[in-house]
């Protein structure tokens, strides 16, 4: 296949009556739903009842969406403290499914869903799959993990809602993924961007790309960059899209970018976003960066008020070139807790990735940051893979490459960096969330 250029793209919109309405019309849908959800949690979730009482807020104080800042926040800690089902807002018999996080740190997070929650989740994804140009004629190869993790199951639910064919591959076994992708004639695939790149490289190496029918890739669950997207698009000859979600809110599909790639459209009729100063918790000026905070407007089983995602982004409410008015969040600048303060400078792993990719293929965009403290001084070591095509048998040339990477990173991050070149394909490709930073400092 070949990548569809913007000028040849034909935009399809599944629900223009929602996706293209004015901001005022959307606000009235959101206001109505906010009032409902606040009443439901006040009546059914002791945690929220207490929190609202502590703040002196009653459901009657919430009249429209602009009252949202009167409501209490919810944090990951709150969810953990009420593990597993303490924040459930419906009786057990209405729950039809649970999904959760991969649980890389601490306790698992497990979220229950009613049938309506599943339907809403699927509908959001169906809108987004449509945004990626897919229809019920398509076959979508899902190589996100299935199981508790929302990636595989979430996409599966969305593909069903769209009426397309789901190919539930789950993650792992790249050889089998490649064989099925070719044999089943998949027209799109979904997985993390790092695995997408790995898979694309493997497909190229195996020479099967000319026999594939893939035209779109749906990738998320970890940060990636425009350059990385273009690399995957270039290798496979497809259009790739950035999907975002978190299980606390529903799963993948809370937001996705369209062909214009000018931010990720949020499904704001179901998930209301705020951008707050991570320190003070007050709203930033429109367009400024801050922490993304979500309120679930229609969730039944596990509604959350003002859930602090820790993702740093900004939001754009202007109408997109695709025709949608769903506001768009920009590429995440990082996470409030992935952000490392090194020698007083804020460092986000995504900055490293962007810098590496900007070098145009000299090194693979797979990296690991290691922060140490040596003699009371922070030392940042960046381990990067030497791309096979750039590999040299001359130490002089490898050292020059290392120094060049060091220079590029110093420029991007504003601090000196120790670069360590490592063998190609030795840094872990993740099928869930990637570990990008190891902090050995004891602070």
């Amino acid at each position: 296949m070949s990548k569809i250029e913007l000028k040849d793209w034909q935009e399809k919109i599944r629900t223009p009556e929602i996706e293209c309405i004015s901001r005022d019309e959307m606000a009235s849908i959101q206001s109505k739903r906010l009032v409902e959800v606040v009443n439901r949690v006040y009546d059914n979730v002791p945690f929220y009842h207490e929190k609202m009482k502590d703040l002196g807020v009653e459901p009657g104080d919430i009249k429209d969406i602009s009252d949202i800042n009167k409501l209490p926040f919810t944090t990951k800690e709150d969810i953990r403290n009420n593990y597993p089902f303490g924040l459930r807002a419906v009786p057990e018999e209405q729950v039809v499914r649970v999904q959760g996080t991969s649980g890389t740190t601490g306790k698992l997070t497990v979220i229950p869903y009613t049938q309506k929650d599943i339907d809403v989740w699927g509908e959001c994804l169906a809108r987004e799959l449509t945004m990626a140009g897919l229809t019920k004629e398509d076959r979508i190869h899902i190589c996100y993990g299935y199981g508790l993790f929302t990636g595989g199951m979430g996409l599966d639910i969305g593909v069903s809602k769209l009426g397309a064919t789901a190919i539930p591959m789950s993650s792992g076994n790249t050889k089998r993924q490649m064989m099925c992708m070719e044999d089943f004639g998949a027209t799109a695939f979904a997985c993390t961007p790092s695995y997408a790149l790995y898979l694309a490289e493997s497909l190229k190496e195996a020479g099967v790309i000319p026999r594939l029918k893939i035209k779109a890739g749906i990738h998320g669950a970890e940060p990636w960059t425009k350059a990385m997207r273009e690399k995957i698009e270039g290798i496979l000859g497809i259009n790739c899209f950035d999907i975002y979600g978190l299980c606390e809110i529903s799963g993948p599909g809370v937001a996705m970018d369209c062909i214009h790639h000018k931010g990720l459209h949020i499904q704001v009729d179901h998930f209301y976003p705020e951008i707050l100063d991570p320190g003070t918790g007050t709203a930033t000026k429109e367009g400024e960066y801050g922490e993304l905070v979500f309120t679930t407007l229609s969730k039944e089983a596990y509604p959350l008020l003002r859930y602090r995602t820790k993702d740093i982004t900004s939001i754009d409410y202007s109408r997109c070139d695709c025709g949608r008015t769903l506001p768009r969040i920009s590429t995440f600048k990082g996470r409030t807790d992935d952000m490392k303060v090194i020698r007083g400078v804020n460092v986000f792993p995504t900055q490293v990735e962007q810098a590496l990719v900007s070098m145009g293929g000299a090194v693979a965009p797979h990296y690991l940051l290691v922060v140490d403290r040596v003699n009371n001084l922070d030392v940042l070591t960046v381990m990067v893979e030497v791309d096979e095509s750039y590999f040299s048998d001359e130490i002089k040339k490898l050292d020059a490459l290392r120094d060049k990477v060091g220079k590029v990173l110093k420029q991007a991050l504003g601090i000196a960096v120790k670069v360590k070149l490592v063998e190609p394909k030795t840094i872990q490709r993740s099928e869930g969330k990637a570990t990008r930073v190891i902090d050995n400092r004891e602070i």
Binding site: E388, F391, D393, L398, L421, V422, E423, K425, T426
Partner: protein, 146 residues
Amino acid sequence: MENNTIKQLSIFIENREGRLDEVLHVLGENDINIVALSLADTEDYGMLRLIVSDPLKAKMILKEAGITSMVTDVVAIKVSHATGSLSSAMHVIVEAGINVEYMYCFANGAEASAILKTDEPDKLVEVLGKSGFAVYKELEAYNANA
């Protein structure tokens, strides 16, 4: 014209325990005979350079084992064991203004060889030839200690 260069296998090796052993083990298991070996060391990594009995097969085998290697053309000069033999060869090279990236030696009984990486292999062989130094041909080098 016959090829003046032989194929060397270069392998990037991280300085972590057992990695060199792993590479040599993979080659040994697949009946790849090592004729010459040089390991250049830096703080963070090593560069292993090998002359082996079948360089292209060795590259394939390593790739299957997940080890990236590259094939580099190098010149293997025959030098006798006589004192000053290597020195006079080097003298010829320096006089001709040929840049040598790196060099290492190996010996097999009566024969010895200096392996050189240069970007002007033909010129190198020509000036050496005029001064009476011969170079190894591919098969001859790969089977030098067979």
